[in-house]
């Protein structure tokens, strides 16, 4: 999925040996001016300029986002170059690059890393024309582009879904916890735990997780995929994950003995987590960046997320197209997403206090 030319050596032909010497000399003589003078960000020109390549840092992985970026380029003529990595690492990189970041747009799997950048004022305020079409933050510096739901994946041979409690709060009890796996180091789980804290309070949330651990819940899975695989293989009976991992694994192997269980409408167990898009305040390519954000929440863009990545849609228009998803979304609470970034540190402390080593 070649989005832009990847031949890095063609753009700048530099004698690598000369550079080695330059680096050593320069490093000796230049002081490390860590916080450099930031260019005052140029006011965005509001007309799209197809000669300017848009640079996207994406925490959303290539297989899931590259096709729609290719569609965007075909539709608008705006070329895109993408850097892929985990949302957290991309946020740390942008924070280090500061106002000199080459990135114009940051696409994040979850609002946590976005909150981190928003707190440091690295994100531009988005025009109402874009934010009004979808879910946004109070400060209007990111938009939701797609949503995934927290579910309980279960093994269809060993678990009868009729017996599963309607609320996730029941699952820390011994008869359930010992049969359930989580991934405490997964950022979706951590974001969900922040939502739980905000919903039922810090003390109750800590008790829930502590009970879950002491009652034999397994917490050291590396990621969602390995939980779903373990459940399908019968190694675990159930696991708390995002809904689409099972759908994707089933696409590669429909014989998997696993299914998703949705908690009762409105239960925090079925909270929805968002993938977001933002524009960097340092971007000098804001018109093109806005065009991309608009495209992501347009009908074409939203259709992609529902059919290709098995996610739920967020734009008002798209929800109108698919009534089924609309009714689902209306029932789900959107809790204080802006807090996911600043609350992450406290959530990690809570995880540690519950007896989990990260």
């Amino acid at each position: 999925m070649n989005i832009a030319s990847k031949n890095i050596f063609a753009t700048k032909k530099i004698n690598v040996f000369a550079i080695g010497i330059l680096i050593s000399l320069g490093a000796l003589f230049s002081a490390c001016n860590s916080e450099s003078e930031s260019e005052t960000s140029k006011s965005a020109i509001d007309t799209v300029d197809t000669s300017k390549t848009l640079v996207v840092y994406s925490g959303r992985k290539e297989k899931l986002i590259a096709p729609i970026l290719i569609q965007f380029t075909a539709a608008t003529g705006i070329k895109i170059k993408v850097k892929y990595g985990s949302s957290t690492d991309m946020a740390l990189l942008i924070a280090e690059e500061g106002m000199k970041t080459p990135a114009d747009v940051f696409i994040s799997q979850s609002p946590g890393p976005v909150g981190y950048l928003a707190d440091k004022n690295f994100l531009a305020k988005l025009p109402v024309a874009i934010t009004s079409q979808t879910v946004t933050s109070n400060s209007g510096n990111w938009i939701g582009i797609s949503a995934r739901q927290r579910v309980l994946v279960y093994n269809t041979n060993t678990v009868d879904p009729k017996n599963i409690p309607a609320s996730i709060t029941e699952l820390s009890k011994p008869e359930w916890a010992s049969r359930i796996a989580i991934s405490a180091k997964n950022s979706s789980f951590q974001d969900w735990l922040t939502l739980l804290r905000l919903e039922i309070g810090d003390d109750s949330a800590e008790k829930w997780l502590t009970d879950f651990v002491t009652n034999g819940g397994k917490w050291d899975y590396g990621n969602n995929t390995s939980i779903v695989q373990a459940v399908a293989a019968g190694e675990q009976e159930m696991g708390l994950v995002n809904h689409y991992y099972l759908l994707k694994l089933k696409a590669e192997d429909p014989t998997l003995k696993a299914a998703n269980y949705n908690f009762a409408d409105g239960d925090i167990g079925g909270a929805v987590l968002l993938a977001t898009a933002s524009i960097l305040s340092a971007s000098d390519n804001k018109a093109n960046a806005k065009a991309l954000l608009e495209y992501l929440v347009s009908n074409d863009g939203q259709k992609y997320f529902s059919t290709a990545t098995y996610e739920y849609l967020l734009s008002d228009n798209a929800r109108a197209i698919d009534g089924k998803l609309d009714t689902f979304l209306n029932k789900v609470k959107f809790v204080n997403f802006d807090k996911l970034g600043s609350e992450l540190a406290e959530t990690l402390n809570l995880i540690k206090r519950a007896g989990i080593t990260l």
Partner: protein
């Protein structure tokens, strides 16, 4: 007594110092971050759990190193000194696990050793399923031993193949037993090489993130990762502690394990091969079984992922397109080219910079050389995240270098800092076994010191230099965190492809990239590491 300050400052000392300065940038970066974020050492130590993860990191490092040392030296001895069956095949197979990225071996193990996994069934038949739980400490140990023993095997084999066996023969005539001959005579001669490899193994283990994360063994590396967004200062502090652990182990090795060359005799006759009798087949089988865990099992599992994804290719992916082996391979082309070019350039630069440093450090035993050696070697244990961010800070925010930002040289620079240690260690070990008599002889015959170095010493160092070059290339190909952060926008390598696809559950695509990665590594491994270390004395 080592002298504190060098008597006269040679050009070699200046060059070495400048190069070492580059390797101090990540540490300088850590200090800058800790200062700007206004946290003191004390508050961090009080506010976070440091000791438990630290102990777990050291425990894993020591355990893996001890077993790798046993495995690595045993293999080297079997190949160099015995008539083990299938020797020529084993010689090619033994170092190959070096080519497998740790996160691939861990992710395949997670699946192979789970209940209902094929291997677990086998363990159940053997009634081993309760004893061998391939997760946590045991799982991490096994995976890491299998990946790291070549770091010890290769230098030890190279050393063994340079020794003759006169002293061993004499001991045999005095009716010493084989084991005591090995312990009293062979071991002292190869211990330097084995311990040099052990240091690399230890540093690899304490910095490895993939295995401990996937197999569930929380330690310093996972703590650094978990805290990096919520509490960056904690991550930087823990990285600093990792560096201290690394430097300590380098000092310990130098002080207690590194001995003056012990040669029992001048170069002479060829080594004699010990006849293992019927055990030659048993040892060959054991070796094959161990290699199969490191090599064949992961590869078979990867192939099964490709097979499964191909079976159900038309299911589900309406917009993403269906899984197709040919498409996946076609997409790999540019990625493979990227991976090749960057790895070779990194290997070349590491070699060019490390030859003078190794030479200086070996020939001058003073504080400066100790610091230079410690700095460069310890960088192998610093998390890639820190090195990448340091590379960003010192290019983008220093106006003189800003033009370089976002280009491949920044990535290569970050690789150099991470893997320079491997090149340095190989060349250093090579120089340390150069016969000083040879140097003396050349001098008495009137050769100038420049001629001495270029005409006599460098040619003898060719194998260790090539081995170091190969190790750096193999590591670069497998590298993940530095590549993700410090590479030019849009730049991909095979390792980043594997991780990105695996993380989101695209196992078929991840497996294709993994197999390509292993294949590319095998090619390099064969031409650079195995060939140059091949024991030449097979028949005698």
């Amino acid at each position: 007594m080592i002298q504190l300050i060098p008597k006269k400052i040679s050009p070699l000392a200046i060059i070495s110092t400048l190069i070492a300065f580059l390797f101090s940038l990540p540490l300088i970066y850590i200090f800058l971050r800790l200062i700007t974020e206004q946290s003191t050492l004390i508050t961090i130590i009080y506010s976070t759990e440091i000791f438990k993860p630290l102990i777990r990191t050291v425990l894993l490092g020591v355990t893996v190193t001890v077993f790798s040392l046993l495995l690595g030296t045993s293999f080297a001895w079997l190949i160099a000194r015995t008539n083990i069956a299938m020797k020529s095949i084993l010689q090619i197979l033994i170092p190959l696990p070096l080519a497998i990225p740790s996160f691939i071996i861990a992710s395949t193990y997670v699946i192979a050793f789970r209940p209902s996994g094929k291997i677990y069934d086998f363990l159940t038949i053997l009634k081993l399923d309760n004893i061998i739980a391939f997760e946590g400490f045991i799982g991490a140990c096994v995976s890491l031993i299998l990946i790291t023993y070549p770091y010890i095997y290769l230098p030890t084999l190279a050393r063994l193949s340079m020794l003759n066996t006169n002293a061993e023969e004499n001991a045999k005539m005095l009716q010493q037993r084989d084991f005591s001959i090995f312990y009293k005579i062979t071991w002292p001669q190869i211990s330097n090489a084995a311990f040099a490899g052990s240091v690399l193994t230890f540093l690899y283990v304490i910095s490895d993130f993939g295995v401990v994360q996937l197999l569930g063994y929380p330690n310093l590396a996972t703590s650094i990762y978990a805290n990096r967004l919520a509490s960056p200062t904690t991550s930087f502090m823990l990285s600093f502690i990792l560096a201290i652990v690394a430097i300590s182990i380098i000092i310990i090795e130098k002080k207690y394990f590194s001995k003056k060359n012990t040669f029992f005799n001048a170069p002479g006759g060829l080594s004699k091969i010990i006849n293992l009798g019927k055990y030659k087949y048993i040892f060959a089988m054991l070796t094959l079984i161990i290699i199969s865990f490191a090599l064949f099992i992961p590869v078979i599992i990867l192939i099964s992922w490709v097979y499964k994804a191909s079976l159900f290719s038309n299911f589900g992916y309406t917009t993403l397109g269906s899984f197709s082996l040919m498409n996946e391979l076609a997409e790999q082309y540019q990625t493979i080219v990227n991976t090749f070019i960057v790895a070779i350039i990194t290997g070349l630069i590491a070699t060019i910079t490390m030859v003078p440093v190794a030479y200086y450090v070996q020939k001058n035993q003073n504080i400066l050389s100790t610091v230079i050696n410690g700095l460069i070697t310890s960088m192998f244990a610093i998390p890639g995240l820190v090195i990448a961010l340091a590379a960003v800070r010192f290019t983008l925010h220093i106006s003189f270098f800003e033009f370089l930002y976002g280009t491949a040289p920044v990535l290569i620079f970050a690789y150099l800092i991470t893997f320079g240690a491997q090149s340095l260690r190989s060349i250093y070990a090579g120089i340390s076994v150069l016969d000083t008599n040879l140097e003396y002889l050349a001098k008495t015959l009137g050769a100038s010191s420049w001629k001495n170095v270029t005409k006599i010493q460098l040619p003898l160092l060719l194998n260790p230099i090539l081995a170091g070059f190969g190790l750096v290339i193999l590591s670069t190909i497998k590298e993940l965190p530095v590549t993700l952060l410090a590479s030019p926008v849009g730049f991909k390598t095979l390792a980043t492809d594997v991780w990105i696809d695996y993380d989101d559950g695209f196992l078929g695509a991840a497996a294709v990239s993994s197999l390509c990665l292993i294949l590319v590594s095998l090619i390099f491994n064969f031409f650079l590491v195995i060939r140059t270390n091949k024991y030449k004395n097979v028949s005698s």
